[in-house]
Amino acid sequence: MSDAAPTPTRTRREERVLELIETARSKRPRFRDEHITLAHGAGGKATQTLIEGLLVPAFGGEALQQLGDAGRIPLGAQAPRLAMTSDSFVVSPLRFPGGSIGELAVNGTVNDLAMAGARASALTVSLILEEGLDADTLRAEVEAIAHAARDAGAEIVGGDTKVVQRGLADGMYICTTGVGTVDPRARLAPQQLRAGDRILVSGPIAEHGTAIMLARGQFDLDAEIASDTCCLWPAVDALLDAAGRELHCLRDATRGGVASVLNELARASHVGVLVREAEVPVRPVVAAASELLGIDPMYVANEGRLVAFVAPDAEDRALQALRAVAGCEQAAVIGEVTAEPPGMVLVATAFGGRRVMDQLVGDPLPRIC
């Protein structure tokens, strides 16, 4: 049978091993892979290695170092603050319950600007079309792009079209770039999380990714789940109004889901995050599909949900303001920022235990957006 209970204090050797691991982890990741795999596009650890290990060191720049959803354009102290971002869309299938690639392409870029506190004013749209693409499909997507841009109040001011041989693009890919003026109320940055900040999500999570998964028809699962794709500016506008400078940071929880957003920001701000699992809104039908497929909704992509970090004093105001926005009625406070352990996300499970919610490793599902 077993020995006596081990001593509760850790030995010096164990401490050394833990310190070694921490040192290794706090170093900037190096990009050492021989090939690009689908994991590099999934929004998890491999994506982070690609961005922080290859792209950021090569492109440098103060704006890029921030690793925000959109970059600020330095125009001098007197000029209006501008933000700019770019996003590309390769989703399969092109149309799915709740939306299509054209709508995603506009909302994705508009939302990335919104997360920097900027309202999109101008967009460019580049289309990469596959030889043989049905003209009606293209017409429908062009209409979807125009409609979504009108809804967001952004003007399409330029673009490009390319056609590639059959087999080199799956129907169509879209790339959009957007520019907007940063709202004077906004003081948002990934480094601004503070212990005590409350964490809000703007509605039930994991709907876009689950809708795409089911739309592909691989699983013989039928459920009424639609993508949540929408323009998030009205939600951001309401939050800025209610919380102003007490709104510390915003992220839209796209690839890699809410879990990836929390991990990225915990690292960027050197703080811990505690999520109360029971408070996270997930529609029962989405929870059931995730259960069957063995997928954690916290890692599933959203296209119309944001995560907001607000000072504790502003919690109620922010939540009420958010819930008054159409589509955000089920917004909820899901947890808070903690001082310890820095860089880590912990979950208080509905069952009463705790666990670490790590970054996504690998890719549960490619080409989700």
Partner: protein, 371 residues
């Protein structure tokens, strides 16, 4: 969700935690091994170990079917996948298991046609839809998944699908457990029996554990309340001086197992004389290969593979971690040669392995103690 949420009730969990606390001898340290990777997953997912007293320690066992696959077998799969005629199919979690120089995911990035399936029947469907290609299913798993591979092969034979074959890496649970129990330095007090395996093989094959090695076994379900209740049952056996196989998972596991599944397996598979386990070395009669009647579907005969044994590095001490002899951080290569990004041993390969868990969550454990 009905029939699911009932087994995740936090109040019942607290009640069981109270009973466990009452059942332990505070002066004694208990080490209980959960044999199955599915249990490990649930323990992490729900934070089950947070509800246990500090002197009840869970040790993760050898029952993760992905992380016991040795590097040489992964290399064989990759070699087959690089054959231009081949579509290699496998379960998703197999894609990231390192071979000696790459994973199947990296082979896919390098041009191999590797596809993830949820069931071997999906692989058979791909074979039907691509008659000009060779479709190979890289089969892994314990007795839990072996019947579905066997059924798929029966169907392929019946339908005369000639472009389908299987790399059989199916393993059996009893031999590695016996190997662990044979170890003179074993420090385990009891076992959570693998509920899904027992659904197929029944409770009888585990009787040797109490009979020959004097350790209690409780066959456990996979929901958090199942696991807590099973731990309580083990502790009660220990304090009463009983030692037997008990079945907590009666709603699913019949004592005699699933006879139909066992029949199908007996027709399609036969025991290999020996098989290599990552971290545990060669264990005789611990794995399955296709029987002579199904030799036509054996990918190992259809394709040439390197078949090279890639030794686990000498410094790797996974075996001792699995036996509970050393803690992950006491291993010579832990955190230096062996990290989750570049895993050497089985315990670091899967995120649920003991070493990977400690590497990722060790800081958090320290935090927890401070609180």
């Amino acid at each position: 969700m009905r029939f699911v949420d009932e087994y995740r009730d936090a109040e019942l969990g607290q009640a069981l935690a109270g009973e466990i606390l009452a059942a332990v001898d505070p002066g004694r340290h208990y080490k209980v091994m959960e044999v199955c990777g599915g249990h490990t997953h649930s323990i992490y997912k729900y934070g089950v170990d947070d509800l246990l007293p500090a002197n009840v320690e869970l040790v993760h066992g050898p029952g993760c079917p992905v992380c016991v696959i040795p590097m040489g077998r992964v290399d064989d799969g990759i070699a087959i996948a690089h054959d231009e005629r081949v579509i290699l199919t496998c379960f998703g979690d197999m894609l990231r298991v390192p071979g000696s120089h790459q994973t199947l995911l990296e082979a896919k990035a390098g041009g191999a046609d590797v596809r993830m399936v949820y069931s071997p029947l999906d692989a058979l469907r791909i074979a039907r839809e691509n008659p000009e290609r060779e479709v190979v299913f890289f089969a892994i798993g314990f007795e839990t998944t072996a019947p579905s591979t066997a059924l798929t092969l029966q169907r392929a034979k019946r339908e005369g699908i000639r472009n389908f074959s299987c790399v059989c890496n199916h393993v059996t649970i009893v031999p590695p457990l016996r190997a662990l129990l044979e170890s003179p330095d074993l420090r385990l007090d009891g076992f959570l029996g693998p509920g899904h395996v027992c659904t197929v093989v029944g409770a009888r094959p585990l009787r040797f554990i109490p009979a020959d090695y004097g350790r209690p076994v409780v066959i456990s379900g996979f929901e958090p309340l199942d696991i807590l209740q099973s731990i309580l049952m083990i502790l009660r056996q220990l304090s009463a001086g009983r030692c037997e196989v008990e079945n907590q998972y009666k709603r699913v596991v019949p004592d005699e197992g699933n006879l139909r599944a066992l029949e199908v397996m007996a027709e399609v598979f036969e025991l290999r004389p020996h098989f290599e386990w990552r971290g545990l070395g060669f264990i005789s009669q611990s794995a399955l290969r296709l029987s002579d009647a199904y030799a036509d579907f054996d990918a190992e005969q259809r394709f040439s593979t390197p078949g090279v044994r890639v030794a686990d590095p000498k410094a790797c001490q996974c075996g001792e971690v699995l036996k509970g002899v050393i803690k992950p951080w006491e291993c010579k290569v832990f955190g230096t040669g062996c990290t989750p990004e570049h895993a050497i041993g089985t315990c670091m390969v899967s995120p649920e392995g003991a070493c990977a868990a400690y590497y990722n969550f060790g800081r958090y454990a320290r935090q927890k103690e401070a609180v």
